[in-house]
Amino acid sequence: MDSPVAVVPEIENPSALQHHFETPEQQKDSATIGMWAFLLTEIMFFGGLFLAYFAYRQAYPLAFASASNKTNLWIGATNTTVLICSSLTMALGVHFAALGKRKLLALFLVLTLLLGGVFLGVKAYEYHDKWVHHEVPGVHFDCEGCVDAQHAPLFFSLYFGMTGLHAAHMVIGVFVLLVLIWQAWHGKFTADWYTPIENFGLYWHFVDIVWIFLFPLLYLIDRSGRGLS
């Protein structure tokens, strides 16, 4: 191998550039790819639950259809709307971060946080409602009016498992948002460097996408009332 020549001149380090990267572009690109690689793991993580869902829905369609009707369609649709609004506010937050607008960034992060809080609040209400109606498996389970009631717990296990895991991800997101809002307000992010905002945005949108699938799969099985055969 030839003797290497020092081709990378001594660059003055911009304040945010870490020592093992050569350029800010390399650093930012690495962070973005790293975040996407992490989201890949999240896809596969939720994927296992989706598999269980499809497996059991295929095996017990009647149980799933009637159990799904125990969820409130309009609450679900409204909550979905709330979450999509929070995705919009998050995307706008990233937009203003890229333009270096500190106050607007902070505002939209706060709006995202509030909308996320509304979503979680509604979820808490739904969970409470299920508890009161004995629809929590393992705890005096007694699904009133469920067809093929022996297999109904499978639906509810998946309901709580999937929405619970989703909610856990949202709670984590809420805590991270609190930190980011504080940092944004204090001017930590500039038009040149707002990578955490962008990467958190990716996370938040991903959590939204999971819900985009959960809503039809859990709330919308046979709403026409005909009963699947």
């Binding site: 790819i33 896809i43 369609l73 649709a77 995307a91 890229a98 799969l217 005909r226």
Partner: protein
Amino acid sequence: MEAHSEHHIVPKRVYFLVFFALIALTWVTAIVSTVDLGRWNIFVALAIAIVKASLVILFFMHVKYSTRLTKFIVMCGFFWLMLLLFITMADLWTRSWMGVPGR
């Protein structure tokens, strides 16, 4: 390596258009579910969900404006999810084919 992605600012107008599409599709899917389409209900619901997810990925998550590597990683993610789902379901779907119980 395309370095342009981080300098591309998506206009707010695009975000709002996507937002309205997502809201509309949400209510469409909710209302369509009350219509009896037989076995097609789930396919329609999933198709709408896929369109919504694609809008979020392409525009909110900027994948439309990202590097080839990012796009490749996203494709891999969904491809592997499909592997997990379809190959396992292939077992469940073909269990009764041999006419022997449990095979």
